[in-house]
């Protein structure tokens, strides 16, 4: 093998090693977060002893760790992985570094579903406790279905998908605003809290289900890495001449991204920034090769969520600032820094 090939292999191994190190760091951060909270007798070292069986926790301590903190941190990991992966996929298939999983109207569809449940009491399932989650999930997918059907009828380009997404966001937003106008104070408060995005809503069973779905979809995301490289580098013409069908791939990726995003925000509410920022942060390390960009984005997404949630839990403890709010506070200035720095977009 010649020296150029060897250098390519060496570069690739270096990037993969960095991603693995980041993943290990993220897991350690998760462990650290598990030991952080407002409980006085449950500090980091005590928690580590309980987790690894060196000491036996009390019922209260066990409940705090396994019923409160662990589902939350697991949700942070899985939610971060899902939103960041969806973000990377969408940026690639739409050829635009400024799109996020929420661009296509997935979030506004979810918000519409939640508003219908909260304000009008309309639910697509008969179990009241599942009304908001079910509505959010289904309505976000309805929005994506509409966009895909529009794409089939009119051969939408990548740019057109984005514009249609924006239009649908406005339409859904208008309907939600109208409902808010007529809502009671209690309903307004509930809707506002849903929109903040919180990792405390799903219980452990919910998080495990979400994990199964997200982990099940990840290999499919990776399968399209090569095709995304072709589409993102040179657009549809370049992709076609490299044996890639951009229209079919784009449709499939949008459906996959929507599924990953919907399953998370149906339970947590609106969480932005992660899907936009994690791929950008990853590009600094691994470049635009989606075979590495997708896993690296997933790792960064998990880390960002853990970081933001832990900060929100501890900054003004015992007051908990929802993760969606924390990410918005961190996200804006950080993204401005990325844009202005040399290694931005």
């Amino acid at each position: 093998m010649d020296s150029i090939s060897l250098k390519h292999i060496k570069n690739g191994k270096l990037q993969v090693s960095i991603v693995i190190l980041l993943a290990v760091f993220t897991i350690l951060s998760a462990l650290f977060a598990l030991g952080i909270g407002s409980s006085e007798n449950l500090d980091f070292f005590t928690t580590v002893k309980f987790i690894f069986g060196f000491e036996e926790p009390s019922d209260l301590q066990s409940a705090i760790i396994w019923e409160y903190r662990f589902p939350r941190i697991l949700m942070a990991i899985i939610g971060g992985v899902a939103l960041a992966t969806a973000g990377a996929l969408m940026q690639g298939c739409l050829g635009n570094p400024l799109v996020s999983p929420l661009t296509l109207g997935v979030a506004s569809g979810a918000a519409l579903g939640a508003a219908l449940a909260i304000v009008l009491g309309f639910s697509i399932v008969s179990i009241p406790e599942l009304a908001i989650v079910a509505n959010s999930f289904v309505f976000s997918l309805i929005v994506v279905f509409i966009i895909i059907q529009l794409g089939k009828m009119t051969s939408l380009t990548a740019e057109s998908y984005i514009l249609v997404g924006i239009a649908i966001t406005f339409i859904c937003g208008a309907i939600v605003s109208a409902m808010q106008y007529f809502a009671t104070d209690a309903q307004l408060s509930q809707l506002a809290h849903w929109s903040f995005g919180s990792l405390s809503r799903p219980d452990l069973a919910d998080v495990l289900w979400i994990s199964v779905v997200v982990i099940g979809l990840l290999p499919t995301a990776m399968k399209w890495s090569w095709d995304l490289n072709a589409i993102s580098l040179g657009g549809d013409e370049f992709a076609i001449t490299t044996g890639v069908d951009p229209i079919s791939i784009r449709k499939n990726i949008l459906i996959l991204s929507a599924l990953m995003t919907s399953i998370v925000i149906a339970f947590t509410g609106m969480i932005g920034f992660v899907g936009l920022a994690a791929p950008h942060m990853s590009r600094i390390i691994v470049g635009n090769d989606f075979r590495k960009l997708i896993p690296c984005s997933a790792v960064f997404g998990a880390f960002l969520m853990i970081f933001a949630d832990t900060l929100g839990r501890t900054l003004f403890a015992p007051i908990v600032i929802p993760v969606g709010v924390m990410l918005s506070i961190i996200g804006g200035p950080f993204f401005m820094y990325l844009l202005l720095s040399k290694r931005g977009i």
Binding site: S5, H8, Q91, G95, W226, S232, D236, V244
Partner: protein
């Protein structure tokens, strides 16, 4: 429209703006679909081939590639192996890329970002990507339009090498504006006019003063090819106007 592309040949498509040169090339590789009719390559309807099969048969070099997502030059060229790769990159794939990098003199840029190199260098990278795709036919869409004079000659020489070197049976179809470049480097020229082929043959057969006047509306002088220099066409300023009779009127700029 029927034409032959011989093995080891460069065939140039010449014509006015809007004659359909780029459209023809894009229809061949299914970037565009014809409004009617069938496109056959080697007697096979190209619609019966999937995109992977088609991209093994022909590769395409556009006028330019602009991107929001830059990659290392090596990885851009490696994309040309996409029709041959299921998932994993084999040592043979990497070696093919490395060989092509050396063949096209791109060693210096192998690990630079695609958007950090010049236009001429980027064109060579895209040609390299087309080469590693290992097609039977190269399609070039105005490969010299964005390049300086030296780069234009370099690119055309590389294309000549691609179809001529070794026991390869490859061909190249090039949509091009520069009539002198076409005359110098083409084995055959297809002169397009009014939606069809006005002339097809060697540069000497096709590039006559009458054909140039009919298609481009300019008068010209031809300097015949010798052992040491190719056929050259000198374009005059005068516009040739036609009326409905056979009589030709020449505008006198003075």
């Amino acid at each position: 429209m029927t034409f032959n592309l011989g093995k080891n040949q460069i065939v140039s498509l010449l014509g006015k703006n809007g004659a359909g040169k780029s459209t023809l090339i894009k229809c061949l590789n299914r970037i565009l679909s014809p409004q009617s009719g069938v496109i056959k390559v080697n007697d096979k309807d190209i619609k019966d081939l999937d995109l992977v099969q088609l991209s093994k048969l022909m590769s395409y070099v556009p006028q330019s590639v602009r991107t929001n997502f830059s990659m290392d030059v090596f990885d851009v060229i490696l994309l040309g192996r996409r029709p041959h790769i299921r998932w994993r990159v084999s040592p043979q794939d990497r070696d093919k890329v490395s060989e092509t990098i050396r063949y096209l003199g791109l060693e210096e840029f192998s690990f630079r970002k695609f958007d950090e190199i010049s236009g001429g260098e980027r064109q060579r990278v895209i040609i390299a990507k087309a080469v590693v795709q290992d097609p039977d036919l190269y399609l070039f869409d105005e490969p010299t339009s964005d390049l300086d004079l030296n780069s234009q000659i370099q690119i055309m020489k590389r294309i000549r090498q691609l179809v001529s070197v070794g026991d390869t049976s490859k061909s190249a179809l090039i949509a091009i504006h520069d009539i002198n470049i076409a005359a110098r480097f083409s084995d055959r020229i297809i002169l397009m006019h009014d939606g069809g082929i006005k002339a097809y043959g060697t540069p000497e057969e096709v590039l006559t003063e009458q054909n140039i006047a009919d298609v481009f509306g300019v008068s010209s002088e031809l300097i015949k090819a010798t052992e040491n220099s190719p056929l050259r066409i000198l374009i005059n300023d005068e516009i040739i106007k036609f009326d409905s009779t056979d009589e030709q009127e020449v505008d006198d700029n003075e």
